[in-house]
Amino acid sequence: MSLNDRISDDILRSVEKPARYTGNEWNVVQKDVNNIKIRFAFCFPDVYEVGMSHLGMRILYHLINEREDSWCERVFAPWVDMEEKMRENGIPLFALESHDPVGIFDFVGFSLQYEMSYTNIINMLDLAGIPIRTADRTEEHPFVCAGGPCSCNPEPLAGIIDFFILGEAEEVINEVLDIYKEWKENGAAREDFLDRISSVEGVYVPGFYDVQYNGDGTVKSVNPIKDKYPRKVRKRIVKDLDNVYYPEKVIVPFTDIVHNRLMLELFRGCIRGCRFCQAGFIYRPVREKNPEKLVECAKKLEESTGYEEISLASLSTSDYTGLGELTEQLIEEMEPRKVNLALPSLRVDSFSLNLMEKAQKVRKSGLTFAPEAGTQRLRDVINKGVTEEDLINSVSIAFAGGWSTVKLYFMLGLPTEAFEDIAGIADLGKKVVDAYMNTPKEKRGKGLKVTLSTSSFVPKPFTPFQWEAQDTIEVLVEKQKFLKDNIKSRYITYNWHEPELSFLEAVFARGDRKTGEVLIKAWEKGCKFDSWGDHFKFEKWIEAFDECGVDPAFYANRKRNHDEVFPWDHIDMGISKKFLLKENERAYKGELTSNCRVGCSGCGAAAFGSSICIKND
């Protein structure tokens, strides 16, 4: 019986959202396998609706499919109900386009967007019948690779992933596929292929590096096992975003997904340098796309998909230099086509409110702000260049413009945080309520709703806070309680994140190879879909740490010495450790660092030769 027959109606009828597994969406790429040399399974370790919303996946899918010799298909983590049926019926993990088993592909590539998806990677490999550990794979198995932001510290997955692609994959992936084709024709050994790609800039083969530890458990050294492998593996970036491949069509899913709209990427990187934010550093330097090109691209995408909404997707959209021009033009083009323009995460000032009015007409959906910390002192520590005055001005403008729902995002547990800073969060919430009350009744919208939302600070590699300790779970819970007690207004709702999940995130974000065994152990105990509330089994994780003899607090709650060797020190994201250390010291002094446009602070990314860094020099 073919796999297609085994994925029977009986099974599909018995699971939630069967359309997750059937494929056939508009703009899907089908190819004749007889004409294909390389089959690539692009795997997203989460469900369809999450994976399909990811812009990077949409780009790389079509990029690989531009090649005549290759066919890239999509694979998502089957939801638990489907997995159960698959295991019961001996159905291996399959790709959506062909419904062929992933185990017969040449490459299995995972997108690493968040640490808490790692157990899903293991689970998917297991479902595919591919050995979980690199060491157990042979010539008959696919190469397992990974990329995405989490690969800047690839070490927890070093025993699971054959090779990583660091930075932006557009160019690297084509070079790797070219080498593969040649290698396959010559029928050489598995290791020979890895050996060949190790010289491609941006490719990291963990198996070619040896890690030594100190007696206290910290890393002593990471060395390549042969001299020919680079001591430090540097990420790749695309220098000229205007001429980089961008698909003219994207898949239009049948079912609703998290971001069910066109996404236009305005720029990569971020000029800001908020000290807690990994994305603000690892994607540097900032590179913008030309507004005219973007409008052209939007038109083509709209024509090929029929989508009714376009959103601007970038880290901090307000920082795009051509934002005014771009939105004007987009509105002009899209309004007659009845396409709505969604503007996410704008810094709110009169300019952007004006834009929002234009873009969304009368719809006054909620506005979000991310002051991140409750007092000016702490906001200076994290280099978040927002003042209370800015914020109150912004919300006042918004209230006067008819908005009445405001969400404010904060972090608990930031370095140097004291209880005054937490009280400051409640205070700020109250001042927002006051700002509403001070707005003339006839101008403001009805039904004020202020939501304060806190997440727990997770220290991340390649940020100035990579040396910092995370608060223990107990302390975080206490801080949440303190904040709750300080909120008095009935207009304010308080939301918080489970600190247990942030704790594990902190372990794996800065984990070493020893933590990889814990991932496998936790998976063996049934951990998967950890970021999906009801599936999160914290006790199982603690058991897994115990059984592996790994202390999670060592990774999450320990403050590092400035001279400690980090597990990711042989990875070069273009940001120098010296710069990060300087930023760490400035944080403690509460000194602000200017953004890249105002002045270069010499982070190291100038080496990529992007215009923003050069102009500033």
């Binding site: 009986d10 599909l12 239009v252 049948f254 009845k338």
Partner: protein
């Protein structure tokens, strides 16, 4: 208003998408085809588009209908050709005609016919099947449990079954053809009918597939095809 009615089929490839998602598929296909469909006013405009009776997830059909309001000129033939070019595999417009009548398709449906395919393990000869079906339909009442949001209640579905007969049968499977009440005043889902008659055959049978073969509107008490000219012309045929 200037309107069109289409008949389309919904095949295996798209049978697992919900009714709401199907409407989205059409909405986007209409946009890609740049067809001059009328849109509702407001800041969240929707195309004027009304579908016949929703199909349950997993059911295929060769007789689906939809009405569209137009705000420009396009011939039915053109509409059909351009829309078909933009529909994904598994959806195909079979026919398109101008519609003058006011009644929309959803409000006017009264009956639907289905082919229910059953897989039968063990010995089921035609005679046996025929006899069981006859027994079933000759019951004075056919009571099933119907679940609504708040409670489960007993309903007699017999008045909603207008025809029930054995179709093909071969080793391992057989089909049952049915004509059932459909629409807003009385509606019997084929799944419910299957659940009701499944017991009469004893163990060893399993629902394999449901396929809608027809949808009908009634005109002066007679069942007619929704694409029938008399239906589409409405009360003012000379317009």
């Amino acid at each position: 208003m200037n309107g069109l009615r289409i008949k389309f089929l919904r095949g295996e490839e798209v049978k697992y998408i919900s009714h709401l998602d199907l409407m989205k598929v059409f909405e986007r296909a209409l946009r890609r085809a740049r067809l001059p469909v009328a849109y509702s006013q407001g800041f969240n405009p929707h195309p004027e588009m009304i579908f016949g009776l929703p199909l349950s997830v997993g059911v295929t059909s060769e007789a689906e209908y939809a009405d569209f309001g137009l705000e420009g000129n396009v011939s039915p033939a053109d509409f059909m050709r351009r829309l078909n070019a933009q529909l994904p595999a598994g959806l195909k417009v079979l026919e398109a005609k101008k519609k003058f009548a006011k009644d929309n398709i959803m409000a006017s449906i009264t009956m639907a016919s289905y082919r229910i395919t059953v897989s039968a393990e063990g010995h089921f000869d035609r005679e046996f099947l025929q006899e069981k079906i006859n027994d079933f339909i000759e019951r004075p009442t056919i009571i099933v449990k119907k679940e609504t949001k708040s409670k489960v209640r007993d309903v007699d579905i017999k008045p909603m079954i207008h025809q029930l007969c054995l179709g093909d049968s071969e080793e391992g499977t057989f089909t049952v053809n049915s004509l059932l009440s459909a629409g807003s005043s009385a509606n019997l889902k084929p799944e419910l009918l299957y659940d009701a008659f499944a017991d009469t055959f004893g163990p060893g049978i399993k629902l394999k597939a449901i396929h809608r073969t027809g949808l009908f509107v009634s005109r002066n008490g007679v069942m007619v095809d929704p694409m029938d000219d008399r239906v589409l012309e409405g009360t003012n045929p000379k317009r």
